[in-house]
Subunit: 205 residues, 2 copies
């Protein structure tokens, strides 16, 4: 038997074992439920992964919604695409007026965050929406613009069983992580800002 044939045969045996183990494992995973999903950490990908899931939901014909806290005034690619191309498939609510250091007006930021949260509650309570993205809500929670207990209690008590809700932003609160089903920390390994590269279309917004 040649070396290459040998490698292929061993590979097939190993993959057969992996597949058997995996099939057995996956057979135990039968439950479907709406998840509380948290994306946090100081790396890239928290919002963009949320928008990637919105894209998946639209692709599967699942009605979805985005409530965008904090980042409101940026002309992002995702906002352009969703508002222009998917007004029926995805409800898009902008509540923030930019990062809080841009407005410098705490009362206006609080009012905007609370108005966004009121709309988020109404959307989440409506079981027609299958996936709801609360983009950058962790920042509004971190600054105390929204009450953490209220948000966590609402998600645990009132989120319909089959609705997925994804909350993004740095500094996710421990109580939110505790309440969540699926939590990912995006960890910064390397970032081009340090070399003088600016935020760019398609990548950061």
């Amino acid at each position: 038997m040649s070396d290459e044939t040998d490698i292929n045969t061993r590979h097939r045996e190993r993959m057969k074992k992996i597949k058997a183990a995996r099939d057995k494992l996956m057979a135990t995973k039968t439950e479907e439920k709406g998840l509380i999903i948290v994306h946090t950490g100081n790396g890239k990908g928290k919002s963009s992964s949320g928008f990637g899931m919105i894209m998946r939901a639209i692709g599967h014909g699942m009605p979805c919604a985005v409530v965008q806290f904090i980042k409101g005034t940026w002309l992002t690619g995702e906002a352009l695409l969703l508002k222009e191309r998917f007004p029926e498939e995805c409800r898009f609510v902008i509540s923030g007026e930019g990062f809080t250091w841009e407005t410098q007006d705490r009362e206006r930021d609080i009012a905007a965050a609370r108005a966004g949260w009121e709309q988020a509650k109404e959307i989440i309570r409506d079981p027609r929406y299958k996936f709801v993205l609360l983009d950058e809500i962790n920042i509004a929670l971190k600054y105390g613009y929204l009450d953490l207990d209220e948000v966590v209690d609402f998600l645990l008590a009132e989120k319909p069983a089959m609705t997925h809700v994804c909350l993004t932003g740095r500094h996710a609160a421990p109580d939110l992580i505790e309440a969540a089903d699926l939590v990912t920390e995006m960890t910064l390994v390397k970032h081009p800002f340090k070399d003088g590269v600016k935020a760019q279309k398609g990548v950061e917004f």
Copy 2:
């Protein structure tokens, strides 16, 4: 001065300082360049963040492309959406035939990965594409289906200056991380699989 007024005033002062520091910092970030972006780690969000950036690129009118390694046979939401709704805006190439433990045929997996890489090179060389997602290519590299040096050398030598290329998948090779501009590790904090919840539409695919 009431407590609340006091809080608001202090907030405004602090935010003014943050904004000044941030504006000064951002003024030094003037360079635009096409980035080599890597999403790795065992957490969620590597592919979905890549697809979120594809959504941003489409939103900004930037022609883009996806070459999907390994995951080929899954009927994913992102594939459905991109192929049906954005055939002009985003070229979509499927090279894999499923995870390698599904096919159990190493030679076929290698042939599929190499065919995908040939198409990826042709796409990346074409400067009309502004954002190219090489989804799950790290798995093909990890298994040795593609040559790491060849992939890294190609990206460094032949990627047009303004093209962004995003490579996803666990186990990103150290040489690829070294060559990249923007690297994020998606770290698993909590996952519902352990509680018997299966992979679900809109979340995992």
